[in-house]
């Protein structure tokens, strides 16, 4: 597979698996121990290039996606991460519980199990102490007592093991269940945000909220989190027991460990900085490699292999340097704690002998104390790493929760109160948004017209995009919207289809203000066909059916036939069952558009809103598209953003948008005759006719310049 590119696999190399002491040891064979240790920017599914591990995984998507993300996530640029409030751990847990009551259901049982599990950890030192002090006295060996002590300890150990097992199962089940519910909830919430459709970059970071952020948390819980909990318990309990056996010795130990804890804390900060650098370096490395791969034709055509190799080599070496830097911190911290452990043991022996001479400490207690010391030390040793992971995992979790805090700006009146609010108040995750019955109306039967009344729109803190729009579209009319890039025409149709709500004024369809129309009715009757007519990695039939779930193959075929595309369909290798590939990459841009039109035909809306494709297609597909469009709009109210003014020429009415206002309207014939924006646009367009391309071009099948790569949408391509 093409594994995803771990944007920052730092962890796995840095942290030698064996690093953690016993109880915290990482999974022996986790495919990616690294993943858990990687702070925020871990690309999603890719979470870890499972690559090697799973040949079968869906190659393209994952990788490309993965590579696309780190830059989105990298930090400051991400509005969402910035939005995450520095909530406390407790507050975070409280919120999660609100989302998934299962989190605390049976908590008492889990806590009991955890207590048993912890108690079991110190049973060996206690047994050692009892046996040394009572069983192996100077008066001889009391085998019976030793037997009882060993037997009891064995029982405790077995019970502990069982309790630990049960507790682990419970924790894994509950945490994974909560995370899955959270993931699904966040996914749905993101779909309900109007901003999702607005920028690819935001999309990238939102995607990682339901992929890498959640994966990281789950990875952390499985490979460190649960153990961290138990180890902390182990540390506390051994500490308590140490005090019980001998408080002076315990104080002595603390005198060594308090400074060590402080040093460890500092080292952890330093390590976090090194990891951050490492992530930057790995991004740089992937960027350099991606350039050489994506730009392979240029590298060859210009004979700059050496220069390119130099750039890559530099990034590889810098990455390696950063890895070693971080490793140095880890090696230092671990050795230091080893040394401190030795110093503490030596001091305990010296002080223990002194106490023993006094008669205030038995041999058994002293030996048990030394055993306890090893139990006490282990968790501290691994704190540096594990706390780092924990901080990153929780930061990711908070980012996911922050997504749920984003208000659903465009609300379906068919739903009741905002379910995000409901969730915060404690409604379970399971029942989704539809539960509270809402108000809302259906659109009236029959052809639909539309009306804009003093509509204005501005993005938050942005300049106005639309101002004072008053527009009446009669039922059955064919309207073209024309304007330069950035004039506001796309915003206009987004308001018309209620992908966004206006800042001021009202948009009515069929006489009903849009905010009152239930989405079920709105989406069935009013349809926007976007520019790029996105296709899913399904068959042609399933993509068309997306417009009307449950439609039969015959209905799909009829939709194609109605648009005059039956012969095109018949020519596909597998007809309706042809798979279109990722984002429809196996079809040309024009063909994707054809499928999108068939989808719209099947959906059969009364009001059709089209954003004409700008990408150039070859002339013959162009002809098909034009014919299909003419069929699709027949008998419907249609509003088309016309990038090609030939569309405007045939419309009943042309609406010219300029700088956020409607500056002209009327039939083409009238408008083109008078000086003004339309005349200017039309002249400019006419001069370029025969080109039709003002954006990027799709590559032809014969192109040697890497057709496969070109297939991915540009923004998802190689962005390490």
């Amino acid at each position: 597979m093409t594994g995803p590119i771990p944007s920052a696999r730092s962890g796995s190399e840095l942290i030698p698996s064996e690093s953690a002491p016993d109880s915290l040891a990482r999974p022996a064979a986790a495919p990616s121990p690294g993943a858990a240790r990687i702070p925020a920017t871990r690309p999603p599914g890719l979470a870890d290039p499972a690559s090697p591990a799973d040949p079968a995984s869906p190659a393209g998507t994952a990788d490309l996606a993965g590579t696309a993300e780190p830059s989105d996530l990298a930090g400051s640029a991400d509005p969402l991460s910035a939005a995450a409030p520095p909530a406390s751990l407790v507050a975070t847990v409280r919120r999660l519980r609100a989302l998934s009551p299962e989190l605390t259901r049976g908590l008492l049982g889990t806590v009991t199990l955890a207590l048993v599990a912890t108690v079991g950890k110190v049973v060996v030192p206690v047994a050692v102490q009892q046996i040394l002090d009572r069983g192996l006295t100077d008066d001889g060996v009391r085998l019976g007592l030793v037997g009882v002590a060993v037997g009891a300890a064995a029982v405790v150990i077995v019970v502990t093991a069982v309790a630990t097992y049960r507790m682990n199962l419970r924790l894994y089940r509950v945490s994974e269940g909560t995370l899955a519910a959270l993931r699904v909830r966040a996914f749905r919430h993101i779909h309900d945000l109007s901003m999702l459709s607005q920028s690819a970059q935001r999309r990238g970071s939102l995607t990682s909220r339901v992929t890498s952020d959640v994966d990281q948390m789950s990875q952390f819980l499985q490979f460190g989190g649960v153990m961290l909990l138990v180890s902390t318990g182990q540390m506390l309990l051994s500490g308590v027991l140490m005090f019980a056996y001998s408080w002076p010795l315990a104080l002595l130990v603390l005198a060594f460990y308090v400074p060590l804890l402080i040093v460890t804390r500092l080292a952890q900060r330093r390590l976090a900085a090194r990891y951050a650098q490492l992530r930057e370096r790995v991004g740089e490395l992937l960027g350099a490699v991606a350039e050489s791969v994506v730009g392979a034709p240029v590298v060859r055509a210009y004979g700059i292999q050496d220069r390119t190799a130099g750039r890559i080599d530099g990034s590889i070496d810098r990455y390696r340097g950063a890895q070693i830097d971080a490793q140095r911190v880890i090696a230092g911290v671990f050795s230091l704690s080893e040394l401190v452990a030795a110093l503490a043991s030596a001091s305990v022996v010296v002080a223990g002998v002194a106490l023993g001479v006094d008669g205030s400490l038995s041999t058994g207690r002293l030996i048990a104390f030394l055993f306890l010391l090893t139990l006490f030390v282990m968790p501290i040793q691994s704190m540096t790493e594990v706390l780092n992971d924990a901080a990153n995992a929780f930061a990711g979790l908070r980012r996911v929760l922050a997504v749920l805090d984003l208000p659903r700006d465009v609300r379906d009146p068919g739903l009741g109160a905002d379910s995000a609010t409901v969730a915060a108040e404690g409604a379970p995750l399971g029942g989704d948004a539809t539960s509270p019955t809402g108000s809302g109306r259906d659109l009236p039967v029959g052809p639909l017209g539309a009306r804009f009344v003093r509509v204005g729109f501005a993005y938050p803190q942005g300049p106005p995009v639309l101002r004072d729009i008053d527009l009446e579209i009669a039922p059955g009319a064919r309207v073209a919207i024309v304007g330069e890039t950035g004039s506001g025409k796309t915003t206009l149709v987004k308001l018309l289809t209620r992908l966004m709500d206006p800042s001021t004024g009202t948009v009515c369809v069929g006489g009903v203000p849009l905010p009152e129309v239930r989405f079920a009715s709105l989406r069935a009757r009013v349809l926007l066909v976007p520019q790029d007519g996105f296709l899913f990695d399904l068959t042609i039939a399933d993509n068309v059916r997306y417009g009307r779930p449950g439609a039969s193959d015959d209905a799909v075929r009829t939709a194609f036939a109605a648009l005059g595309l039956a012969d095109w369909l018949d020519r596909l290798p597998a007809g309706l069952a042809t798979r279109v590939g990722e984002s429809g990459s196996r079809l040309s841009a024009g063909e994707r558009q054809l499928v999108a039109l068939a989808r719209a035909q099947l959906a059969d809306p009364e009001l059709l809103v089209l954003d004409e494709a700008t990408s150039a297609v070859d002339p013959e597909t162009e002809v098909r598209l034009a014919a299909a469009l003419a069929e699709l709009t027949r008998g419907r109210t249609s509003v088309t953003i016309a990038h090609r003014l030939s569309t405007a020429e045939t419309a009943q009415e042309v609406v010219v948008v300029d700088d956020g206002r409607i500056v002209q309207r009327g039939p083409h014939r009238d408008l083109v005759a008078v000086p003004g924006v339309y005349q200017r646009l039309h002249r400019s367009w006419a001069a370029g006719v025969g080109t039709a391309a003002d954006e990027t071009r799709p590559e032809g099948p014969g192109a040697p310049t890497d057709v496969r790569r070109a297939a991915a949408p540009p923004e998802s391509r190689m962005k390490p």
Partner: protein
């Protein structure tokens, strides 16, 4: 992407042999450092054994007498303390060396293979690149290299653990054969559980990774198509689709967690049970006078220390399957044949080059068994037939199409200094032809001759010195405008500006924040499509190539600006021979000669005006947009022909 056979292979027993062969390759790269790391690990584990001896001895000789007699042998206590600290210091040193040296070995070996893999990327022909997605190649250079050498990290520790195991068993036998038997049972059991877990858990986590990939794919696809989802009101269905995958992943995580949840308590209780066994058996042995209390403490302490290093075996073995798969992928890159023969001849003359295509044919290499080699592009031209189905050669259907060669016996002669346009429908083979002129691909038959010399006979570097290709997709490096133009070539600032002027890019470049030294961002994202194309054009022009090949290189440029660029080329005609792939009438009209390609064959060749008059298909091609407009019902369409002619 890997054939599923690989996965099965990896599970077979051979995986251990293959895995160690892989690791051995890595060790050979850094033998001394690895030895150092292994020595550090041995120091660490052996001092562990030593510390148990120290503790036992201290118990027997110092602690017990002190408690019993009420007075201590203080000098002996001081010695014991010093020995404990000394042993601890050595242990810390061992740990430091093992971690740092061990890490450095892994990072260096990975770096070394990254160098090799990326060099190979630069060496391999474009046809190889076309068969592999960017994601795959990135993953080969990064994740696969990493996976291949990851087990090297715990390997020194495993070596140390092995040495320790032998030493500890010897010590146990020396102490008491009966207690040693317990070790003989407990330690191997412990090791075996580790191996068992490593093998069982690997497929589980591999499955988890696959499911994560699926969840991610669904999320990406769904959010990428957000507009369609929203427009059609399919949020609920999408959520259900996502939920299915999220829950599948959850269940897989819980399954893996179940195994892990079992493994952890096992790892903890096994040595503890061993210690208890030691205590009871030890008590018997003490009663019979075979050992003393100090020896018992030593053995018990040894058990607590031994357990942890033994886990290193699990880490090494658990990671081997991934390492094998990772290395196989890396190896596939390193051993890919770079089928490009290089000659030794040099081109002599300055001035425009003479170009000849002699019966050039090209067909994509056969699809490889995994099917990924089949270029999606070759299947793409499905929609290129005319609507009435008039063009018979397309009626053959898609299956036939994909087998058709991209170019068939194309013969063209281009005189030095002339401008030749290549035109044709999408899929006609224009771009393949253009790439061939810069030797991005070699013809499967026939030859491309520059000044009479076959490109394949030219010495390395000769082609790129003489030919500059501006590909369809404007590719910019994440660097400054200047560096993107010079690409390391030593040219003056004036020359760069001159090239920018010819490419009609001087004005916008001058307006950039740092002018020529402005960073364009990744892939040039800070520039518009048209601007990128013009910078790429300047990159070619600054080299004053003897043959300039423009593959639809100004398609994103505003028609009027394009007109100015072409006019400039026209004025400069004679400095370079120019081959331009074009669809726009205005571009084609500039050429001295037009080659009309269709389905990989030349179906027309001559002056634009003549072709327009003599070839109906040529005329049809150029007026297709006009037809498109007509089909949409236009009645007031301006004559595009006139409009275009007016501009040029």
């Amino acid at each position: 992407m890997m054939p599923s056979a690989t996965r099965t292979d990896a599970r077979e027993s051979g995986v251990i042999g293959l895995g160690f062969a892989t690791l051995w390759r890595g060790i050979r790269e850094q033998p001394r450092l690895f030895a150092l790391a292994a020595s550090g690990a041995c120091l660490y584990t052996l001092t562990g054994v030593a510390s148990s001896i120290v503790l036992g001895e201290a118990t027997e000789r110092i602690v017990l007498p002190a408690v019993r007699d009420g007075h201590a042998d203080w000098p002996a206590v001081a010695v014991a303390a010093a020995v404990i600290v000394g042993v601890g210091a050595l242990r810390a040193l061992g740990m430091f060396v093992r971690r740092l040296a061990g890490g450095t070995v892994v990072f260096r070996v990975q770096g070394h293979y990254r160098h090799r893999v990326t060099r190979q990327y630069l060496r391999l022909p474009l046809s190889w690149h076309q068969r592999h997605s960017t994601g795959t190649l990135l993953s080969n250079a990064n994740a696969d290299v990493e996976a291949a050498w990851n087990p090297l990290m715990p390997l020194p520790f495993a070596v140390g653990a092995l040495i320790m195991l032998v030493t500890a068993l010897a010590l146990l036998f020396a102490t008491d054969p009966v207690l040693a038997l317990i070790g003989l049972v407990v330690f191997p059991t412990f090791g075996w559980v580790n191996l068992w877990y490593g093998r069982r858990v690997w497929p589980l986590y591999a499955g988890v990774q696959r499911l994560r990939g699926e969840v991610s794919a669904v999320a990406h696809e769904s959010f990428d198509g957000a507009l369609v989802v929203k427009a059609l009101g399919r949020e609920e269905e999408e959520t259900d689709r996502f939920r299915v995958h999220a829950e599948e992943l959850r269940d897989a995580m819980i399954r893996a967690g179940r195994l892990r949840g079992l493994f952890d308590p096992l790892m903890e209780s096994l040595p503890n049970l061993g210690i208890l066994l030691v205590l009871i058996v030890g008590a018997v042995r003490i009663r019979s006078g075979a050992i003393d209390v100090g020896q018992l403490v030593r053995v018990a302490y040894l058990f607590t220390l031994l357990a942890f290093p033994l886990r290193a075996f699990g880490w090494v073995f658990g990671d081997l399957p991934r390492a094998v798969v990772g290395y196989q992928r890396v190896e596939a890159v390193l051993t890919a044949p770079s089928e490009e023969p290089q000659g030794t001849r040099n081109l002599t003359g300055p001035g425009p080059a003479a170009l000849r295509l002699a019966a050039v044919s090209y067909a994509y290499p056969d699809a490889s068994p995994d099917g990924t080699a089949a270029l999606p592009g070759t299947a793409a031209p499905a929609g290129t037939a005319s609507p009435d189905g008039a063009s018979q050669d397309d009626a053959a259907g898609p299956s036939a199409r994909s087998e058709r060669p991209v170019l068939s016996e194309v013969s063209v002669e281009v005189a030095p200094g002339s401008i030749v346009a290549i035109t044709g429908r999408t899929g006609a083979g224009k771009s393949t032809l253009a790439g061939m002129l810069a030797r991005l691909v070699d013809p499967t038959d026939g030859a491309v001759l520059l000044d009479g010399v076959d490109l394949r006979d030219l010495a390395p570097g000769e082609v790129s010195r003489a030919v500059a290709l501006v590909p369809q997709q404007a590719f910019l490096f994440d660097d400054t405008v200047r560096a993107n133009i010079t690409l390391g070539l030593d040219v003056s600032t004036e020359a760069v500006w001159a090239a920018l002027r010819s490419a009609q890019a001087d004005r916008f470049v001058a307006a950039l924040p740092a002018g020529l030294d402005t960073h364009v961002g990744e892939r040039g994202t800070s520039l518009s499509g048209g601007q990128r194309q013009r910078v790429c054009l300047a990159r070619a022009l600054v080299r004053a190539p003897r043959l300039l090949v423009l593959d639809d290189a100004t398609a994103s440029v505003d028609p009027r600006v394009e007109g100015a660029i072409l006019a400039g080329l026209r004025e400069n005609a004679g400095a370079s021979t120019v081959v331009v792939v074009a669809q726009r009438r205005s571009t084609i009209a500039l050429a001295d000669e037009v080659v009309h390609l269709d389905a990989g064959r030349v179906i027309g060749c001559g002056r634009h005006v003549d072709l327009l008059a003599s070839s109906p298909r040529y005329a049809a091609l150029l007026t297709a947009y006009e037809q498109a407009a007509r089909a949409a019902g236009t009645d007031a369409m301006p004559d595009p022909d006139l409009a275009t002619e007016a501009v040029s």
